[in-house]
């Protein structure tokens, strides 16, 4: 369903050849290197990869929250057809919250501990919508009801520390959706939560997405969350795109050797296997990313060319794979 939509709908977000670099004393470090992908309205795109793969940086670049010395060093980001990566801080501040919402990993640090939930919600609502404080409070209560906070009329006057982790994340979601943005960047929204609470938050995100037609870019390291939630998934390795495609294709028939290793290394219930597939070694540090394909020193199907040629994504069915195994003519 989503795939067809992907083909003929104008993309909501288009990232073209995005590179993010850090100026350091040891030289320029490329944390993200030539990422390209699209997101259509209402779609949930998962971005998965190990720590340091550049997932969160990609998300931060889209909402204009890259922290110096990190900066966009190449490529373009288009949102609703407008290029936004060269927006000024003020222009970007207007976008954030209104057009693009954000949910971060730790719900305690994304809320101000000194202000009541009401102050924080009303402030955000009034920034983006033209409502007086009474109406804004009413809207805030509606939002809290929508994200499933019991007794919202009472809870709205509480402080963040009076909420549990799962409830705080609901408040953060309420903040993110208060101006009905077209896109939400959710960076590891459930990583700090227990499994049973994680399930509640994921169900809530999916419901919000379905009811409001919001597109979500879900950044996580958990393939299980991706498989349950997303329409499409992008697998990142060392700042580059390894594979992107419909989630069932990537999960059931991963093509890139890294994705295959990644899928095999996840213990699954009901398989009863004696050993997990393991990828030897670990992801390289930013200062020593190998030439050619970044994955080649760990790859089980490495060829001679892999150490010199940097693979570019090749289209196969609905997926794109950046691996020399799938280059035309091989």
């Amino acid at each position: 369903m989503m795939n067809n939509r992907n083909a003929d709908t104008a993309p909501l977000l288009e990232v073209r050849d995005l590179s993010i670099a850090f100026d350091t004393r040891r030289g320029l470090l490329r944390a993200v290197d030539g990422m390209s992908f699209k997101l259509v309205p209402g779609e949930i795109l998962g971005v998965v990869g190990e720590s340091g793969a550049g997932k969160s940086l990609t998300g931060a670049a889209i909402i204009g929250l890259l922290e110096p010395p990190g900066h966009v060093s190449g490529g373009e980001i288009h949102f609703e057809g407008t290029r936004i990566d060269n927006f000024s801080r003020e222009q970007m501040r207007q976008m954030r919250g209104k057009k693009i919402g954000a949910i971060f990993q730790d719900p305690l640090t994304s809320l101000n501990p000194l202000l009541t939930i009401e102050r924080q919600l009303v402030e955000t609502i009034q920034t983006h919508l033209n409502l007086d404080s009474g109406e804004a409070r009413q809207r805030a209560i509606e939002l809290l009801t929508e994200v499933g906070i019991p007794a919202p009329e009472k809870r709205i006057d509480h402080y963040p520390h009076q909420f549990s982790g799962g409830m705080r994340q609901r408040v953060v979601i309420a903040l993110a959706i208060c101006a009905q943005p077209k896109l939400i960047i959710a960076d590891e929204p459930t990583t700090a939560l227990d499994v049973s609470i994680q399930a509640q938050i994921i169900a809530l995100l999916k419901k919000m997405c379905r009811e409001h037609g919001t597109a979500v870019m879900l950044i996580t390291h958990d393939m299980g969350v991706i498989a349950e939630t997303c329409d499409r998934v992008a697998v990142m390795y060392s700042g580059r795109l390894a594979e992107i495609g419909p989630v069932h294709q990537v999960v059931k028939e991963p093509r890139h050797p890294y994705t295959r290793g990644l899928m095999g290394s996840i213990p699954a219930i009901g398989t009863g296997s004696e050993r997990l597939t393991q990828i030897k070694g670990a992801m390289p540090r930013l200062k020593d990313i190998p030439p050619g394909c970044a994955f080649h020193p760990r790859c089980s199907e490495v060829m001679e060319r892999c150490s010199s040629i940097k693979p570019i994504p090749v289209e196969i069915n609905d997926s794109e794979v950046a691996c020399l195994l799938y280059e035309k003519g091989t």
Binding site: D194, P267, L276, A282
Partner: protein, 345 residues
């Protein structure tokens, strides 16, 4: 506690009987007197019975705050139990000060969750690994010690030369290998592993889990494995104990528990783990959260979240008793036959 466990392998390596650990979280004395605040206890572990047969992996699972890590610390003697007894090979070690008796402590070691915090950054790896050898007086000469450290590094998949380096020169997975090498240095029988892979990426987690399985086979180790990740537990363990608010609610052979969980909480846990094989299931997430252990609910502590709770559940604490397939369950609904049989398939 569990007849099936006893029959299986004689005397258990470790057994715990009615173990309780309360933390005193009362306000200071003056506040209690002036503001009439009461003495308060947090019941981290509240009456735990456990048997771990030799040569097996026993896993404890549960959500944060259920008391898993407290159990780990009680077992290795980092905490002293408020009540109950812990015995290792039939010897009662409950009241012993940490690290005593030496001969027994040498045989139980621990692997911690965070490989960045559990290695001293100012020590060379060879000193980190040699520390247990020194403190238990296991090696006489310097060269003997170096040889042993080299052998241990080799055993966990690192190089003997790595001993000269400092911890910061290693990645998370390699650091966890160093922790494992240190833990097996004193030639223990029993390892307590407190979330050993939860700080690692999946591909590295796979390496460490495989290594732990290999070492278990090679060295005949017994593991107490603590994790919140059911898929990892399913991969690692023969036995599983599910904890909720300081108590075990279900315990049995892992393959039976995973095939037919009986306690509603275990069923909830199994249903809520995201699964890469079953895509986009529209599931009904169970509402509610783990209650505050300072003031736990009456009766069965799970009753506010349980879909099968009735009057008895709200007032009377269920005890662990045999359910189907030798699984022990603490649930009134299961014992009264009110629950229809659940199948995971």
């Amino acid at each position: 506690m569990n007849d099936l466990m006893r029959e299986n392998s004689g005397v258990p390596l470790l057994s715990m009987r009615g173990v309780k650990k309360y933390f005193d979280i009362s306000p200071p004395f003056l506040n209690r007197v002036l503001e009439r605040k009461p003495i308060q206890h947090l019941r981290a572990v509240d009456g735990l019975d456990l048997d771990i047969p030799r040569g097996t992996t026993f896993s404890l699972v549960g959500e944060s705050g259920c008391g898993k890590s407290t159990v780990a610390k009680l077992v290795v003697g980092l905490y002293r139990a408020t009540e109950g007894s812990i015995s290792f090979e039939g010897v009662d070690v409950t009241g012993m000060p940490a690290g005593k008796p030496l001969a027994l402590r040498q045989r139980m070691q621990m692997i911690f969750q965070d490989p960045y915090a559990s290695l001293n950054p100012r020590w060379r790896v060879r000193d980190i690994i040699a520390e247990p050898l020194r403190s238990f007086g296991l090696r006489r000469s310097r060269s003997e010690e170096l040889n042993e450290v080299g052998r241990l590094l080799d055993l966990v998949g690192l190089n003997a030369q790595d001993g000269e380096k400092y911890p910061h020169e290693f990645s998370g997975g390699q650091r966890q290998r160093i922790s494992i090498a240190r833990a097996i240095a004193s030639n223990p029988d029993f390892l307590v592993c407190d979330e050993p892979t939860s700080a690692l990426d999946v591909s590295v987690q796979a390496q460490i889990l495989n290594l732990m399985k290999e070492l278990q086979e090679e060295l005949g180790l017994t593991y107490l494995f603590i994790s919140h990740d059911l898929a990892v537990v399913n991969f690692m363990s023969e036995w599983i104990g599910v904890m909720y608010l300081g108590r075990i609610v279900e315990v049995g052979l892992a393959r039976y528990v995973f095939a037919g969980p009986q306690h509603p909480y275990t069923q909830l846990l199994l249903e809520t783990i995201p699964d890469i094989t079953m895509q986009k299931r529209d599931r009904e997430p169970v509402a509610g959260e783990v209650p505050n252990p300072i003031n736990p609910p009456s009766g069965c502590t799970f009753h506010p979240r349980c879909p099968h709770a009735d009057e008895r559940c709200r007032s009377e604490l269920p005890i662990l008793a045999a359910g189907a397939s030798g699984i022990m369950v603490a649930c009134h609904a299961v014992h009264e036959g009110r629950l229809s049989v659940y199948s995971a398939g």
